[in-house]
């Protein structure tokens, strides 16, 4: 607060001061309340999920959870106490103890044993592909908007489209992806359909961010290059893009967080509830693009809504949520940190 200002305040009647103190206090409480709410979500999932993913003893990480496929969990009474077993283990166990197991009640909980490895792989594949597509389309588009475009009806229309695309709900992208890629183009539920759907969804983010990065490169760089006889393309490739690249990449990290975090667009375009083969176990290399994959966000949806909440399903629910939330949060955090560092580094 500037000194003259606070001096004036001190001279004023106490009532006004109390009012100000009260209102600003309220604002402060509201602000910290919001942060507290977010903290509660992070803490709840962090603590309960952390207990699933991390271990007290070496190797400190629940490796099977991260490297195995989901399995059905079987719960049954055995020699006076509850036993829990994954499906594969249970089958061999049943083969050995067929006689004793007769008449024993076995409760089965789908996806509650094993791990989430295929889901992690699927999410990584989805993110890589869609970000790649979005970056190519988005950056080229941004180059035109910032380097070539002259204000006119076409450009205004393009900008309007970008603005509106940014507001379209993600489920509508899902509907579009389903209607267009999956059905009209006949790609079925496939990686490719998911890539395009997600890429189109983040396109506005990538274009806006890339354009901002390109525009922040000083005009002198371009002019200097042109003055030395470079063509426009050469000027862009040598004197604009390299300086804008850190900015573009930083912002695209934000797009990664968005792509990884969305569930609605992949529900009907890519995601399988369960699939036994891993993505690279395909007959021909072309099949790779036309296969559905399991993905983390969809898995959370499935385990949160399709199986009951109890002590047996708790682990897979919180474990998956933990891995997913903190991966996405880490990506977002990287973006924030990179952006602040970048702003300090490049000051023109």
């Amino acid at each position: 607060m500037n000194p003259a200002n606070s001096a004036a305040l001190r001279a004023r009647s106490t009532k006004a001061r109390w009012m100000e103190w009260g209102v600003f206090g309220l604002l402060r409480v509201a602000t910290y309340f919001v942060l507290a709410c977010a903290a509660v979500v992070f803490l709840d999932i962090g603590i309960k999920g952390g207990a699933v993913v991390f271990r007290r003893h070496a190797p400190f990480i629940n490796i099977p959870f991260l490297t195995e496929a989901p399995e059905t969990l079987n719960v049954f009474e055995w020699e006076g106490r509850k036993r829990t077993m994954g499906d594969r283990e249970f089958r061999t166990f049943r083969a050995q103890h067929a006689a004793e197991l007769k008449g024993v009640q076995v409760e089965a909980y789908v996806y509650s044993a094993g791990g989430i490895f295929p889901n992690i792989v699927g999410t990584i594949l989805l993110v890589l592909g869609s970000i790649g597509l979005a970056l190519v389309l988005g950056v080229l588009s941004a180059i035109y908007l910032s380097e070539y475009a002259v204000d006119g009806p076409f450009i205004r229309f393009v900008r309007l489209s970008i603005l509106n695309l940014a507001g379209v709900p993600s489920i509508v992208y899902g509907l579009f992806g389903f209607g267009f890629f999956v059905i009209l183009l006949g790609w079925n539920v496939s990686l490719l359909a998911g890539w395009f759907t997600l890429a189109f969804m983040v396109l506005p983010v990538v274009i806006t961010a890339s354009e901002e990065a390109l525009r922040s490169v000083p005009g002198g760089y371009r002019e200097g290059s042109l003055a030395l006889g470079a063509t426009k393309l050469q000027a862009i490739l040598t004197n604009v893009l390299p300086y804008a690249l850190p900015g573009i990449l930083t912002s695209s990290v934000l797009a990664i967080a968005r792509v990884a975090g969305e569930t609605a667009p992949i529900m009907f375009t890519t995601a399988f509830v369960v699939r036994d083969e891993l993505p690279w176990q395909v007959k021909q290399w072309t099949d790779f693009f036309f296969q559905g994959v399991m993905a983390l966000p969809y898995h959370i949806y499935v385990v949160a809504s399709k199986i009951p909440q109890n002590q047996y399903t708790h682990d897979v629910q919180y474990g998956t949520a933990f891995v997913f939330l903190f991966t996405v949060a880490a990506i977002a955090l990287t973006s924030v940190v990179l952006r602040t560092r970048l702003r300090k580094k490049y000051r023109w």
């Binding site: 100000e20 604002l27 588009s141 180059i143 070539y148 899902g174 509907l175 569930t263 629910q317 924030v336």
Partner: protein
């Protein structure tokens, strides 16, 4: 750049200057390299336009067939006489609702007798004896009509079933014939023979409907008996000691009177019902836009009315915004005007970081933690005065709204903060110089100056809430019913279903190109148009009230 044509006589070496300035024409499609590159970029810039048009094209293409299909759906509904039966069903349902109302009153009275007055159950039942007799007599009056309704339902659905079988056979026949057209001659003959073997029943609806129409006389006779039986019963309504319950009983009497008045009207409607009245396009559209039911895969009649979903979405969105606007805007004002620089540096990314929480994780949090917490909270005796408490369902509109508020706060916060930031510094300085306090400056100068931006921020937050899928799918309770606003503020604790939720829930299971499938795309169209509208409004507000450059 001046362009000079090359001299006609080629052998002369061009002067260096000219060689440098001359454009090399036509190496790709008659364009110079630079022009070509420009076109590539330009083509890419058009991608967003292309995507937007593709989205529009796809969802409209799949949605547009909904209207004719729904029209056909309604046409069968009318031809097979289901519409006529539903007129009577409405009357029977009204009667049932009254019976249920009596049952609810009895339950409250019983609870009062055994609870507050601490009577033994047998004693309580004895005291309720007159009431029970009354309720039973009331319920019994409608038994004949219910039986008649069941009878008519069977007739109508039998007719509809036959129609459906005929339609399926007709389609199979057409498929055979279509296949025959492209198949080789030998196979084509077999296909044609197979097609001819299919006998499609041609249903003469006007004739088949006669038995059903004949029941109208029975309905009229039954109604006359019903009214005759009801009037003495209505007169003998018992009294209850408790004033609140007595009021409810009086309300029952009023409702019963309304019901009695309605009976002849139903009869008149049934008499005036005309099977041959064509179903108009408007009817087909209205059944979607103003339909109060979303019923699918029903043995009777499927309805695709968007109203329950739309109101559900709206209820959740409004509630979420009521929570999010004060918090988001307050946080924006605080960070922009009050906070110390250190706070600013921490809070701003902090709140923006919330938007990184994937919505499906928040939905899971709602199921696992928030829903249960809210219900526990609602059972505290100290909070009994809150309308709607205690909550009966763990997952309801309020659970989803709380989480959606958290989702929309970052949007509202960062846009509102931008708007506050854009208020020229001179405004603040002028206000302070005139002797206003900081509070006065903030509330009377800065916030009003940024109001258009803040409004736009709220609108975009609204768009974010409406479009959100996973949270509502997981936490809103998914009961397809128009929220009962008569319940007062307690309505926010009812489970609802939403437009986004229904698409996510049902699209995976529907058969392609059926009316249900189209209906889901129609919902998608509504969502899409709504998002465009919100976007357009936000832009318009920002442009309209933009501050003149200082």
């Amino acid at each position: 750049m001046p362009y000079t044509a090359a001299p006609a006589a080629a052998p002369v070496r061009l002067p260096t200057r000219e060689a440098l300035l001359r454009r090399r024409r036509g190496w790709i499609f008659g364009l110079t390299g630079d022009e070509f590159v420009k076109f590539v970029f330009q083509g890419n810039a058009a991608i967003s336009v292309v995507v937007l048009s593709l989205i529009t094209f796809t969802i409209f293409r799949d949605a547009v067939d909904f209207l004719p299909q729904n029209r056909e759906n309604l046409r069968i509904y009318r031809l097979a006489g289901l519409e006529l039966v539903d007129l009577l069903r409405q009357q029977v349902d009204d009667h049932k609702a009254l019976s249920r109302y009596l049952g609810a009153i009895r339950q409250s009275e019983y609870a009062r007798l055994t609870g507050r007055l601490q009577l033994a159950p047998t004693e309580a039942t004895r005291r309720l004896a007159t009431f029970d007799v009354f309720a039973e007599r009331f319920t019994e009056t409608d038994i004949a009509q219910e039986a008649l309704l069941g009878d008519m339902t069977e007739l109508a659905s039998g007719l509809k079933e036959r129609q459906k079988i005929a339609a399926d056979l007709r389609e199979a026949k057409q498929n055979y014939l279509a296949a025959a057209r492209t198949a080789d001659p030998a196979r084509a003959t077999t296909l044609r023979r197979q097609a001819e073997a299919i006998v499609v029943e041609e249903i003469d609806f006007a004739r088949e409907i006669q038995p059903l129409l004949g029941r109208r006389a029975d309905v009229a006779a039954g109604n006359a008996r019903l009214l005759a039986a009801l009037s003495p019963i209505a007169a003998s309504t018992p009294r209850l000691d408790d004033s609140v319950l007595q009021q409810r009983l009086e309300k029952f009497q009023r409702l019963a009177v309304a019901y009695i008045v309605g009976v002849p009207l139903t009869e008149k409607k049934m008499a005036g019902w005309d099977q041959s009245r064509p179903v108009t396009w408007l009817e087909s559209f209205n059944a979607f836009a103003f339909g109060r039911d979303w019923v699918t895969a029903s043995f009777w009649q499927d309805w695709y009315g968007i109203l329950p979903l739309f109101t559900g979405t709206l209820l959740i969105a409004v509630l979420a915004l009521i929570l999010a606007i004060p918090l988001g805007v307050a946080a924006a004002i605080y960070v922009n005007q009050v906070a110390t620089p250190v706070e600013q540096r921490l809070i701003k990314p902090g709140i923006e970081f919330i938007s990184a929480i994937p919505s499906v994780v928040l939905g899971f949090f709602g199921i696992a933690v928030l829903g249960e917490t809210l219900r526990r909270l609602s059972q505290l005796p100290a909070l009994d005065w809150v309308p709607g408490f205690p909550i009966s369902e763990r997952l309801n509109a309020s659970t989803a709204a709380c989480l959606l508020a958290l989702i929309s706060i970052p949007t509202i916060f960062s846009l509102a903060e931008d708007a506050l930031n854009n208020v020229p510094r001179s405004f603040k300085e002028a206000s302070l110089a005139l002797g206003a306090t900081r509070l006065q400056t903030v509330l009377r100068i800065i916030v009003p100056a940024a109001l258009s931006g803040i409004t736009a921020a709220i609108l975009l937050g609204f768009g974010r809430v409406i479009g959100e899928t996973m949270v509502v799918l997981l936490c809103a309770g998914n009961r397809i019913e128009i929220p009962n606003l008569a319940a007062g503020l307690g309505v926010v604790f009812e489970p609802v279903h939403t437009m986004t939720g229904i698409i996510a829930q049902e699209l995976g299971e529907v058969v392609r190109n059926t009316i249900h499938y189209r209906a889901l795309f129609m919902v998608g169209v509504v969502l899409f148009l709504l998002s465009l509208l919100i976007n357009w409004l936000a832009q318009k507000i920002v442009r309209r009230y933009r501050l003149a450059p200082a």
